[in-house]
């Protein structure tokens, strides 16, 4: 598992890195502030991020929100500050864990394991939701293209569908792609 860490204090960052590597995880990127964290979350392609809260330029919670918007991944916050307002902001931003500093290696590893597992679980459900939405869109496109063909080419419903299917078979492309092309041309 590739981990992004964001921590402005060098000593703590090295310590955190050592902990993660000792547990067999790969630290693929080290950010020293929130802006760097957001950039590295995109370019270094980590599987998970561990972010400090108080950092220059952009705090860890806002960084978490931006990372989750752009490239969702499980995020664990580590912070010396655990007041309710901060914790609630972090929970609303979408983080999976929030650990008080200083923490022990044995605090961090289970937090990472639960974050990863629950994130994967949510992603799987969301993927199913998306594929369903896509399927509904495909059906709509095919219906629409068929209607356009009937109208524009004065075809019967049967012939319009036959033409869509033939185009799909001869071009080797899914019917949805053909349907969308027809909508673009005729719609």
């Amino acid at each position: 598992m590739r981990v992004l860490i964001a921590e402005d204090e060098t000593v703590i960052r090295l310590d955190l890195k050592g902990m993660l590597e000792g547990a067999g995880l790969e630290v693929c990127a080290e950010a020293r502030d929130g802006v760097e964290a957001v950039e590295l979350a995109d370019s270094a392609e980590p599987d998970l991020a561990v972010l400090d809260v108080k950092m220059p330029r952009l705090d860890g919670i806002e960084a978490a929100r931006r990372i989750l918007d752009e490239r969702p991944m499980p995020i664990v916050i580590v912070s010396a500050f655990t007041e309710e307002s901060l914790v609630r902001r972090a929970a609303e931003a979408g983080v999976y864990g929030y650990l008080a500093k200083p923490f022990r290696e044995e605090d961090l590893l289970p937090a990472i394991a639960t974050a990863r597992a629950r994130f994967d679980q949510l992603s799987a459900v969301r993927e199913q939701v998306d594929s369903l939405a896509e399927a509904l869109a495909a059906r709509k496109a095919i219906e629409r293209a068929k209607g356009l063909l009937m109208q524009n080419q004065r075809l019967t419903e049967q012939d319009a569908f036959a033409r869509l299917r033939r185009a799909s078979q001869t071009s080797g492309r899914p019917m949805r792609v053909i349907a969308e092309a027809i909508i673009q041309t005729l719609g």
Partner: protein
């Protein structure tokens, strides 16, 4: 937020209750073993549960599994077991947090807030899936030969969405 706590050691249980109440949570039930935890989760309808692992009668991980199967809710484990196997078992049971004893007061409320928020997200996604059934769409479209062609829309193995004509 109403919390169920399950912990066989009285002192730790009292300590936990005090911490939770200090942070604005309501402790709606205290269980002293796993069986009680499952029963109290049913009868007191907590919003989240904080469970010890090693308890008499039924361990906390098995209790978590049963509680979750009856009614999904965010569960955080609180345990002295730090070995990978126990963590993995808890993760597989569906828990949203795992705190190690001796626990730090500062970790308890954040773990519950994060667990509750992420669990709500999971339930919302599941609800969307449930109301937008079916996952695969079968429909019939007429063909030029006068027969109806069964058409199936589903995700292909490479992940792309495909429409297939299913041969009758």
């Amino acid at each position: 937020m109403k919390i169920l706590i399950a912990e066989d050691e009285t002192l730790i249980r009292l300590d936990l209750r005090a911490i939770l109440e200090r942070h604005g949570f309501t402790v709606c039930a205290e269980a002293r073993d796993g069986i009680e935890a499952v029963e109290l989760a049913r009868s007191t309808q907590p919003d989240a549960a904080l469970l010890d692992v090693r308890m008499p009668n039924l361990d906390g991980i098995e209790a978590a599994r049963r509680i979750y199967a009856e009614r999904p809710l965010p569960i955080v484990m609180l345990t002295a077991f730090r070995d990978r196997a126990t963590v993995d078992k808890a993760v597989a049971a569906g828990v949203f947090g795992y705190l190690l004893k001796p626990f730090r007061e500062g970790d308890v409320a954040p773990a519950l807030y994060a667990a509750a928020a992420r669990h709500a997200e999971l339930l919302a996604a599941r609800r969307r899936l449930g109301t937008e059934q079916p996952k695969r769409i079968d429909m019939e479209l007429p063909s030029s030969s006068g027969h109806a062609w069964p058409v199936r829309i589903e995700r292909a193995e490479d992940g792309s969405l495909d429409v297939r004509v299913v041969q009758p």
